[in-house]
């Protein structure tokens, strides 16, 4: 399945692995922060709505 990378296998796989790892980290951090921020906004919007009525 994996093509024959010859003597540079380590370099190629290392570069791909490291880059994909960094991209994954960026994605996960972005999504986690985004979820948290959106959840906080929803909470405070509900609270504001309650205050508005009450």
């Amino acid at each position: 399945m994996i093509p024959d990378l010859g003597k540079y296998a380590e370099a190629v796989l290392g570069a791909y692995g490291l880059s994909l790892l960094l991209l994954a980290a960026l994605l996960i951090l972005t999504l986690r922060r985004g979820k948290k921020a959106r959840a906080a906004l929803r909470r405070i919007e509900e609270e504001t709505a309650r205050h508005g009525k009450g």
Partner: protein
């Protein structure tokens, strides 16, 4: 804190919500196809062996690293001239993405350079310019973190982005000048598209497209996050005043 939190961001969020699914999907497809094509289905270069496969990550990352800064520059200008908050927040949202792409570019370059040039790092103009770009990203992000008032932070970082762009450009030429005095430029350069054959070029273009769409999707999502944070802050202030 008046109309902005409603009028412009709402329109932006609506558009963003419509575009994002396509952007994410297309980015995933583009990166997957580009990298898989490059990794599994391209021949080795006669000089570089299989290390040529690294360019399918290296070049797109470098491309985004530079264009993210240019996008931040445009967004900063829009903020300074038109005072659209979304614009300032988009610049803020793009910076960490650009930073990560710069790191990927530098790391993959070092990994490629080790077998090819026999060294992880050389003070070659291109490498040095990227290192300087990395420092500019760091400073820009640090300034955003350091200023408490969000509007002042947007103002100051915009000015830094403008001045920084001029100096980054100056550094680019300074580094070219400086490094020529020491040693010749890179002997093998793949970035010039004219000496790259179609076999390598097509998957590279697909990969660059995928990375660009990923950047778009990330920035849209992150800008939404920033808008949510700003709105939370504004509502928090209002709640405090009521209670």
């Amino acid at each position: 804190m008046s109309l902005w939190e409603y009028a412009n961001p709402v329109k932006f969020l609506a558009l963003s919500a419509r575009v994002q699914p396509f952007a994410w999907a297309a980015a995933a497809i583009g990166i997957f196809v580009g990298l898989a094509w490059g990794f599994f289905a391209t021949p080795d270069d006669f000089r570089q062996g299989s290390t040529v496969k690294i360019i399918y990550i290296h070049v797109p990352a470098a491309w985004i690293a530079i264009n993210a800064w240019i996008m931040m520059l445009v967004a900063s200008l829009v903020w300074l001239v038109r005072r659209h908050h979304v614009s300032a927040l988009a610049a803020k949202a793009a910076a960490p993405v650009g930073l990560v792409m710069t790191v990927i570019g530098l790391l993959t370059g070092a990994i490629w350079g080790q077998p090819m040039w026999g060294t992880w790092w050389a003070w070659d103009p291109r490498l040095t310019s990227f290192l300087i770009l990395f420092l500019f990203y760091l400073g820009y992000i640090a300034l955003w973190e350091a200023v408490e008032d969000p509007d002042t932070a947007a103002d100051l970082t915009s000015v830094l982005c403008l001045v920084g762009s001029v100096f980054a450009l100056l550094s680019r030429y300074a580094v070219l000048f400086w490094s020529q005095g020491l040693h010749q430029g890179a002997s093998l350069s793949l970035d010039k598209e004219e000496n790259i054959s179609n076999v390598f070029w097509l998957p590279l273009v697909v990969s660059i497209g995928g990375f660009t769409l990923l950047f778009l999707a990330l920035v849209l999502y992150r800008t939404g996050t920033e808008i949510a944070l700003r709105r939370t802050r504004a509502l928090g202030v209002r709640l405090d005043r009521h209670t």
